[in-house]
C-alpha cells in the first residue's frame, strides 16, 4: 500500500458514460430484474403483513402491515444496492474485466467506483419506488410525506452500495459475499426495526442497532409512511451519509491497491 492509494478521490463527469452503460445492460434484462427486486419484497410484505398482522392488533402505533411496509422498503433498497455492488460489480471488475477496458480510456478508477455507487443506488431507487407504489395502491401510505421515501431510497442505496464495495474490493471470489450477507445484511434486517421495533431487543442489542445504518433508514421511513416528520431527522441522514462517505473512501483505497498490479 503506497501513499498515492490514500489520495482524495478525484471525481469527474466521465462517470456518466459508465452509468449509461450499466443502464443499457439493465434494459436488456429488465423484466427478470424487476421480478426479483419487487416480487420478493412484496411476498414478504403481503405474507407477513396480512398473515402475521391479523394476529397483532397494532405495532408502533399503527397496523402491522403499515409498520412492515416502511421496513420492507428499507430492506429491499438495501438488498438491491448490496447485490449490485457485490455480485454485479465484482463480475464487471473481475470476470468480465469491464473495468480494465474502461481504464484504458480517459476514465479513471475513481470515476468507475463513483459510477458503481451511483448505479447501485439507481437500482435501489427503482426497487424502493416500485415497492412504495404497490404499498400506496394497497392504501398503506397515509400522506404525501411518503413521497419523501423516493429520495430516501436513493440515499439508502448510496449508503449500502458504498459499504458493499468494500467487500467487492476485498473479495477473492463470489463465495466471499456469503459472509457479508450472512453476517451483515441478514442480522441488520432482524436488528434494525424492519419486522419489529428495536425497543423489543435486549439493551445491549439496542445499542448495537443504533450504530447500524439500516436502523436510521427505518427511523426516517416509518414516520413518513404513517404521516409525520421523523424525530432527529438530521442525525439519521448524517449517519447514512457518513457511512456512504466512509464506504466510498475505504473501497476506493482498496480498489486502488487491488488494481495497481
Amino acid at each position: 500500500m503506497s501513499k498515492h492509494h490514500f489520495a482524495a478521490p478525484r471525481l469527474s463527469f466521465r462517470f456518466l458514460p459508465i452509468w449509461r452503460r450499466h443502464f443499457l445492460v439493465w434494459r436488456k434484462i429488465a423484466a427478470t430484474s424487476v421480478l426479483g427486486h419487487i416480487a420478493d419484497p412484496m411476498i414478504y410484505l403481503l405474507g407477513l403483513g396480512y398473515g402475521l398482522g391479523s394476529l397483532l392488533p397494532e405495532m408502533g402505533g399503527t397496523s402491522y402491515i403499515v409498520f412492515l411496509a416502511a421496513g420492507t422498503i428499507c430492506y429491499s433498497t438495501m438488498n438491491s444496492a448490496s447485490f449490485e455492488a457485490l455480485y454485479s460489480a465484482f463480475a464487471r471488475m473481475h470476470e468480465q474485466r469491464t473495468w480494465e477496458a474502461i481504464m484504458n480510456t480517459p476514465v479513471t478508477l475513481d470515476d468507475i467506483v463513483l459510477s458503481e455507487i451511483l448505479w447501485a443506488a439507481t437500482k435501489s431507487l427503482m426497487s424502493g419506488t416500485a415497492v412504495l407504489s404497490v404499498a400506496a395502491l394497497l392504501g398503506l401510505t397515509h400522506s404525501l410525506l411518503s413521497l419523501w421515501l423516493i429520495p430516501l431510497a436513493l440515499l439508502i442505496g448510496l449508503c449500502f452500495a458504498s459499504l458493499g464495495l468494500i467487500m467487492t474490493a476485498l473479495a477473492p471470489a463470489y463465495d466471499f459475499f456469503m459472509y457479508y450477507f450472512t453476517l451483515v445484511v441478514t442480522p441488520m434486517m432482524l436488528l434494525c426495526g424492519v419486522f419489529f421495533p428495536v425497543a423489543q431487543l435486549p439493551p445491549f442489542w439496542q445499542t448495537v442497532a443504533q450504530a447500524l445504518p439500516l436502523t436510521h433508514a427505518v427511523n426516517i421511513a416509518r414516520p413518513l409512511i404513517i404521516g409525520y416528520v421523523p424525530e432527529g431527522l438530521l442525525l439519521h441522514i448524517a449517519v447514512l451519509l457518513g457511512y456512504m462517505l466512509l464506504g466510498f473512501y475505504v473501497s476506493l483505497v482498496l480498489f486502488r491497491r487491488r488494481l495497481a498490479k
Binding site: 452503460r21 474485466r97 481504464m103
Partner: protein, 304 residues
C-alpha cells in the same frame, strides 16, 4: 521524425521484487516498436506504466508531449489499447461495443455512429454488427478489440500480445491490419513472444529480460549484431554424442537442447558436408532468425 513517447529510467518493484529495473524507450511517429521478452520480463508492467495505470517507483514518462502519470487521462484521449485478454462487453452486440466504448472518450453519439461503418469494415465484421459478443470466434473478438481501440482515432496504439491464442489465418489477418495502421501513420507499441510476428511487423524492437532492455535495434540489426548468420540444427538419438566430438570443430558456437544440437556458423558448407557422411543424423540448415537471438539473449531455461 517526431518523437511520440519517451520513457527514462523506469523502475517498479512489488513487495521487494524488482519487476522493471531501469527501462529507457523512445518511440518515433509512424513506427511499429516491439517489446519482446519471456513471461515475467516486465513487458506488461512497462506498458501499464506508460499508460499511467500504475505509478512507477522512479523514472519519467512523456506520452504525446504530456507527463505521465500526472496527465495520463489527457494523454489517453489519443491512445488506443488492445489488451492481452479480451474484455469486450458480453451483454452487447458488436456495434454496441463500439458505441459504448466511444462514449468513454467523451465522443458524441453522432460522431461514433459516423465512424462505426469504417471500423466494422476494417475489422471484417460488417456482417456481424448486430451479433452478440459471446457468439463471435476468437479471431473475430480480437478484431473487434482492435476496432474498439481505434474508435477514438488514436495517434498511438498499445497492443499487449495481440495474436496470442489465434489460429494462423486469424494471425495473418491481424498482421495485415496492423501493417495498414502503420501505413496510415499510426505509431504501434506491441508486446509479443512470437518472434515471427516481431520480425514481420516491427521496424524496431527491444528484448527485455528481468526488468531490463538487454538489446535494441531493427530485426536485421539484432540478428547481425548478436548472432552468426547461419544455423544448422542437428537431430537424432546420437546427436549429443556427435556434438561432443564434432560440434566445436565445425561451428563457431553450439547449444545442446535434448536430442537437438543448434550449431551457429558463418559458413555452413563444411558442416553440411560432414553431416552428409552421418546418415543416422537428420539436419536442417537455415538462416539465423530472431528466435535464435532471443534464445541466445534470454537463455533456454523455462520461465515460470
Amino acid at each position: 521524425m517526431s518523437v511520440v513517447l519517451t520513457a527514462h529510467d523506469l523502475r517498479k518493484s512489488y513487495a521487494n521484487q524488482v519487476v522493471v529495473n531501469g527501462v529507457n524507450l523512445t518511440l518515433n511517429r509512424g513506427e511499429c516498436y516491439g517489446l519482446l521478452g519471456p513471461n515475467g520480463a516486465g513487458k506488461t508492467t512497462t506498458l501499464r506504466m506508460l499508460l499511467g495505470l500504475i505509478e512507477p517507483d522512479a523514472g519519467d514518462i512523456k506520452l504525446l508531449g504530456l507527463p505521465v502519470p500526472q496527465a495520463a487521462r489527457e494523454a489517453r484521449i489519443r491512445i488506443g489499447v488492445v489488451p492481452q485478454m479480451d474484455n469486450l462487453d458480453p451483454d452487447f452486440t458488436v456495434r454496441e461495443n463500439l458505441m459504448v466504448y466511444g462514449r468513454y472518450f467523451g465522443m458524441l453519439d453522432t460522431d461514433i455512429e459516423a465512424r462505426i461503418p469504417s471500423l466494422l469494415e476494417f475489422a471484417n465484421l460488417t456482417q456481424k454488427k448486430d451479433v452478440k459478443v459471446p457468439t463471435l470466434s476468437g479471431g473475430m473478438k480480437r478484431r473487434l478489440t482492435l476496432a474498439r481501440a481505434l474508435v477514438n482515432d488514436p495517434d498511438v496504439i498499445f497492443l499487449d500480445e495481440p495474436t496470442t491464442g489465434l489460429d494462423p489465418q486469424a494471425r495473418h489477418l491481424i498482421w495485415q491490419r496492423l501493417r495498414a495502421l502503420t501505413q496510415q501513420g499510426k505509431t504501434l507499441l506491441l508486446t509479443t513472444h512470437f518472434m515471427d510476428e516481431a520480425e514481420r511487423l516491427c521496424h524496431r524492437l527491444a528484448v527485455m529480460d528481468l526488468g531490463r532492455i538487454i538489446s535494441e535495434g531493427s530485426p536485421r540489426e539484432m540478428i547481425t549484431r548478436n548472432i552468426e548468420p547461419q544455423v544448422v540444427e542437428v537431430f537424432g538419438e546420437t546427436a549429443s554424442k556427435w556434438a561432443q566430438e564434432f560440434a566445436e570443430i565445425y561451428s563457431t558456437r553450439h547449444e545442446v537442447s535434448g536430442e537437438s544440437v543448434f550449431c551457429y556458423v558463418a559458413d555452413a558448407q563444411p558442416l553440411v558436408g560432414h553431416l552428409q557422411g552421418h546418415p543416422e543424423l537428420r539436419y536442417l540448415h537455415r538462416p539465423a532468425n530472431l528466435e535464435d537471438v532471443f534464445l541466445k539473449l534470454t537463455g533456454r531455461e523455462m520461465r515460470e
